[in-house]
Amino acid sequence: MKSVIVVGASLAGMRAAESLRREGFDGAITVVGDETDAPYDRPPLSKQVLAGEWATERIALYDAASLADLRLTWRLGARAVSFEAASRTVTLADGERLAADGVVIATGARPRTLRGAEGLAGVYTLRTLADSLAVRAEFDAGPQRVVVVGAGFIGAEVAATARGRGLDVTMVEMAETPLERVLGAEMGRVCAEVHADHGVDLRTGVGVESITGAGRAEQVVLSDGARLEADVVVVGVGVVPNTDWLASSGLEIDDGVVCDETCLAAPGVVAAGDVARWPNRLFGESMRVEHWDNAVEQGMAAARRLLAAGGATEPFAPVPWFWSDQYDRKIQLAGRSGPDDEVVVVTGSLEERRFAAIYGRAGRIVAVLGFNRPRHVMQYRRLIASGATWDEALEFARSQS
């Protein structure tokens, strides 16, 4: 392998490029990214950057010296528009064609938008630094009312940050309970209560019918007929993987780039991060994971896979994990929780909003949720990684109390 193209200059792609160098790869690495900013870290975009606490320089993924050490050839502000897997040829928007022995696909995902609201000023999604700075500028201007659409983790963090800035926040959620499909109804209710504790007006079980206004958002009309006055609307209703450019690539696309269990999508082609779908042996299911930690881990695994070529390869089988900081709570989830799992609180209490709860399904521990309990989350994450049974997990919980 003499040359590699990394498509996607965010966390997964950059960790892949970094890993290639660390593993001794000395060939050319070209990094293609559609944003013009140098690679940066996204989690602070809904928190410290949006809060106005951090200057944008603080979210750089690398300082200039370590970036130079990686010896990368850059194509920033360049969108990949098509790909041919057989020849590993990437075509950019300006017509340039790049070919290499190996390709890392790390194009991430983009936010879903609300149909009909595209042309209105004051309506935002939050994914990029530009998005964050635009919403921050709106917050700086001191709006009267912020409406957050979607009570998932991004929406929840935006709501928390806006409340921290003293703004009025209404959050609208289609489900009866926020996050119930992920955490189950009981834990979803705890998330809802945290928002209520902090003065968010949470409307659940309602959708957004339309957003109206003369050029700029003025009202959010809900499916129950309510009309919310809005100066700023932030939409956080999920993301879709960026695979449009791969439509005629010869790769299998199914809500992400379909890989084998070693992150390989085709000979010499690997995928990592939000865009990659692969069978995770530990959970016996095909998954696509949109977490920071997975971008890091899978970026490294994909790079190693590329260099291994036909040699020994190990399956990528992590316990997915993420954190979400809201108000003074650090919420962490490790594993694969579902609405029908058995849930047991193993430490702390829901009332004090400081606890760890484990999720069991089919005789195994499949997930752990923590509210300000990082130590316990990591302990149970290790247990999940070891393939522990539900009884073993409960036994471990008893031994700790």
Binding site: R15, D41, P43, W292, D293, V296, E297, M300, W321, W323, D325, K330, Q332, N372, P374, R375, V377, M378, R381, R382
Partner: protein
């Protein structure tokens, strides 16, 4: 070459990823604070420490000479 583990506690948010990667070196206790169990863990743990550096969501861990 010997090395020393350094944590920027202004950045650390006690996510405890480091504890998962290198429990010999890092421990987040019940008070939610991170404690460094061994500042000079030696070459045998270097790979784990390096992984903890890379996996820290706050980039709060670094390695210094000596």
């Amino acid at each position: 070459m010997s090395y020393r583990v350094v944590v920027d506690f202004d950045l650390c948010e006690s996510n405890a990823v480091c504890m998962q990667v290198a429990p010999e070196v890092f421990e987040v206790r019940d008070d939610d604070f991170l404690y460094i169990l061994d500042e000079t863990p030696g070459e045998g743990l270097r790979a784990k420490v390096d992984e903890a550096v890379r996996r820290c969501p706050k980039q709060a861990i670094s390695v210094a000479d000596g």
